[in-house]
């Protein structure tokens, strides 16, 4: 009984050490004494709390209604057979069992992982390279910054249409350019082996946002470190590898994580190009996980199964992000932690 630390006892101890905290009531554990508040103080505090809640309430309600509730409900739906219009019928783990044996799930997951493995390193590397170039641009930086960011404003659906035009095997811009060098380009939009590389190339279209993030990070790299390395005879590449990259490893890691999650959820461009309105033509090589999920949910109205698919994707993303976070402890340098 005596081992139980009571709030009063804890407060009494704290009051000796930090008497000033008592003015605010010291309600928190170990934060101060339990000094009874005067009625006016209580009213003030109540008003403060109510005001805070009033300001927070749009977010709280929005979060609960539009995020927490749908997430929870989708978990419930994943255990049901539900076609939108009729009431969900509880089927236990049937959807998850089906999912485990569905060859299209394996195909879509494989496609998605391959796409992400191709896309993320290229995307981040190109972003970093462009940011390094832009960092040297001097007075024209503003122009290039805008120019790089502009494609980011293009709607993803338009990019999906551009895939078919720019990557057309007959007279697409890419194959035309390859033709100048005597290279007979592939049918990017129909040859299964080239569909994912084609989509990866098109995804680089929107690299501008990441460039701006890295550019901001590069501006924060201490010049004295770079100057010192230069004085020691380090060339541009060694300075970049040994000084710049460690100093911007935080933002680089952020981009890796965010783009990995984005890659695992890739949908719009591939759906528009291959599954939207192309006269029934589709290609298994472009069947990404989110597309298969969408088909099950909104073409076949298997909402229960689609919810189970969504939860599997969530777990995959969670696992991959977890691994990335573990790895980051060894390779990412956060100056603020030092």
């Amino acid at each position: 009984m005596t081992a139980v630390a009571t709030p009063a006892a804890a407060g009494a101890t704290a009051s000796v050490r930090r008497p000033g905290r008592g003015r605010l009531g010291g309600a928190g554990k170990g934060r101060g004494p339990k000094v009874p508040l005067r009625p006016s103080q209580r009213r003030n505090r109540r008003r403060t709390v109510l005001s805070a809640l009033a300001f927070l309430s749009p977010w709280i309600i929005g979060f609960l209604v539009f995020t927490a509730w749908p997430i929870g409900y989708s978990l419930y739906l994943s255990l049901t057979d539900y076609d939108i219009i009729n009431a969900p019928t509880f089927v236990g783990l049937e959807n998850y069992v089906r999912l485990a044996g569905d060859p299209n799930v394996q195909l879509a997951l494989g496609n998605t992982v391959v796409f992400t493995l191709l896309q993320v390193p290229l995307y981040v590397t190109l972003s970093f390279a462009l940011a390094l170039l832009l960092d040297k641009a001097g007075r024209s930086m503003g122009f290039f910054r805008t120019a790089f960011f502009l494609p980011r404003m293009t709607p993803p659906v338009a990019v999906g249409v551009l895939v078919l035009l720019l990557l057309n095997g007959q007279d697409g811009l890419l194959n035309t350019a390859l033709g100048w060098f005597g290279i007979d380009g592939p049918n990017w939009t129909t040859d299964s082996a080239w569909i994912k590389p084609g989509l990866v190339l098109m995804s680089l279209w929107t690299v501008g946002g990441s460039v701006l993030i890295l550019l901001a990070a590069l501006r924060g790299v201490p010049r004295e470190l770079l100057d010192a390395a230069k004085m020691d005879g380090a060339g541009f590449f060694r300075r970049t590898w040994h000084v710049t990259m460690p100093m911007v490893s935080g933002p680089l890691f952020f981009l890796v994580v965010v783009n990995t999650i984005d890659g695992l959820q890739t949908f719009t461009e591939a759906y528009t190009a291959y599954f939207g309105s192309t006269g029934g033509y589709g290609n298994d090589a472009a069947l990404f996980y989110a597309i298969y999920l969408f088909q099950q949910a909104f073409q076949f109205f298997n909402m229960g199964y689609a919810s189970a698919l969504a939860w599997l994707l969530f777990l995959v993303v969670l696992a991959i992000t977890g691994v990335q976070l573990l790895v980051s402890r060894r390779v990412v340098y956060y100056e603020a932690d030092r």
Partner: protein
């Protein structure tokens, strides 16, 4: 003991902490309850209880989803329907029907009163109880279903009940470049589907004549696979809509031929790249540019060519089966009354008015006048109503070639259509055969392997959907979701 005394009065010790907690709890509960209310409610029973009577006045609001006033044919009929339903406040929600939006609206008890949907979706909607059978609507409004194109009616009939009133018919005809045909020494009989040896011979000759940056003969896979299968006497689905027939050897043979046509021209990748690179709807289309020998195509493309490239070298004929009989795969729209419609009587009257002969005649006259003003020929309308088709055909004047051939081919095709019957798994069935064709086009599987796999997938979907349908006694009803209020 002292500690117990304090802990037993937490409220007194922390009076101001409990209120925010309570307030937050209230917010949470309120928000969750609000979200719970967002779940679906069952649809109403208005459609089932409606008293349809062609002589009765109808009134009230009528929300129509999925129909757009895109041209004079739509505008004239819509105006006529509004005039006929003068006491009704018609609200057109324009744009194509989004199935998810529609089903969600029905589930939430906020269904539109009438929808315009492709006939291919009627089976799925009906099997889910989203649209009501129109038996009483048809009887009460004296709608003569025998006047409609039979294949169109079959597409909207599930298990013996009509679920929608069909309108428009989309059919396929053969379009060819006579200059390239002549240059290649090929006749239209070799490319109209009746002579498969001729098709392959013509493909080689046309590909040579057209050159490397052109398509000699386009079999229009994957979307025209049902046409090629039918050309070989194969139906992809049994007449009762319950049995998939995708692995029928005749269907396999048809897919082999249609793929071979593409393979002889460099494969699907090359042909598809040329298709995508073409200016299909523009003045520099494949006929105007001389980059296509021949292909089967929907009849509306005749008007496109006439509009954008009236002097392009083109000729038209019907597509035929191997016995030389004209065939065409029918598609089109239809009007259906949602289960939760709050004004089914007006919805039924509106659907009837939009598809009756007088409305079509008024629309055809408007179209004819518009074409005359543009100095272009009126090529007719395929309405899905045989009486209207016959009357409009009378309106169509003889015109110059090649458009005269186009008109004749269109009407002949319209008289020789086939269609897949309505079934409760139409989306899954369509996906199965399209995926099968795509796997072959992408070089993943042979036609026999791919169609065998599709057969299994399609039959599984059909069995599951029909099992649910049969279990409901063929009368599915919208079931309220768990949290639905009992006020409906």
């Amino acid at each position: 003991m002292r500690s117990h005394t304090v802990r037993s009065h937490p409220v007194r010790s922390h009076p101001v902490r409990s209120r925010p907690v309570r307030l937050t709890t209230l917010l949470v509960v309120g928000a969750v309850a609000l979200a719970g209310c967002a779940q679906g409610r069952g649809g109403g029973e208005a459609a089932a209880e409606a008293s349809y009577d062609s002589g009765a006045e109808v009134d009230g609001p009528l929300e129509v989803l999925g129909f757009g006033l895109n041209d004079e044919v739509a505008e004239v009929r819509a105006a006529r329907a509004e005039e006929e339903l003068s006491g009704v406040d018609v609200q057109l929600v324009e744009g194509g029907l989004d199935p998810q939006r529609f089903l969600t609206a029905v589930a939430s008890g906020d269904a539109p009163d009438l929808i315009y949907t492709t006939r291919a979706q009627v089976g799925s909607f009906a099997s889910r109880g989203a649209i009501a059978p129109l038996t009483r609507c048809i009887e009460g409004e004296d709608i003569d279903m025998s006047a409609y194109v039979q294949t169109a009616v079959d597409q909207v009939t599930l298990d013996g009940d009509v679920y929608a009133i069909p309108e428009f018919n989309v059919v396929q005809v053969l379009a060819a470049n006579p200059q390239l045909l002549e240059q290649a020494g090929v006749t239209t009989a070799q490319v109209d589907g009746s002579d498969w040896e001729g098709v392959l011979t013509a493909t080689d000759a046309l590909a040579t004549a057209a050159g490397p940056d052109a398509i000699g003969y386009d079999s229009k896979l994957p979307d025209f696979f049902p046409l090629w299968a039918r050309s070989n006497g194969a139906g992809l689905l049994s007449e009762d809509g319950r049995t998939a027939q995708l692995d029928d050897p005749k269907a396999v043979e048809a897919l082999e031929l249609a793929v071979e046509v593409l393979e002889r021209q460099g494969g699907f990748g090359d042909v598809s790249a040329l298709r995508d690179a073409s200016d299909f709807f523009g003045a520099d289309n494949q006929f105007a540019a001389g980059t296509l020998g021949a292909f089967p195509i929907e009849q509306w493309y005749i008007n496109v060519l006439n509009d954008v490239s009236p002097d392009a070298p083109v000729t038209f004929d019907t597509f035929k089966d191997r016995q030389g009989q004209t065939i065409a795969f029918a598609g089109g729209g239809s009007w259906a009354v949602p289960t939760g419609s709050s004004n089914p009587e007006a919805a039924c009257r509106y659907a009837k008015t939009m598809t009756e002969v007088d409305s079509w005649m008024a629309a055809a006259e408007a179209r004819q006048q518009a074409r005359e003003e543009e100095g272009k020929p009126f090529t007719g309308l395929l309405t899905g109503n045989t009486e209207a088709d016959a009357a409009i055909r009378e309106l169509v004047a003889d015109t110059d070639e090649p458009w005269q051939s186009g008109i004749e081919a269109t009407y002949e095709a319209n008289d020789n259509t086939f269609a897949l019957p309505a079934n409760p798994a139409d989306a899954e069935f369509t996906e199965a055969w399209q995926d099968a064709v795509n796997r072959v086009l992408n070089g993943q599987e042979t036609p026999a392997e791919s169609l065998a796999r599709a057969q299994e997938e399609a039959q599984a979907a059909l069995d599951s959907a029909w099992e649910t349908w049969d279990a409901s006694g063929g009368e599915p009803s919208v079931q309220p979701a768990p949290s639905a209020s009992a006020d409906r």
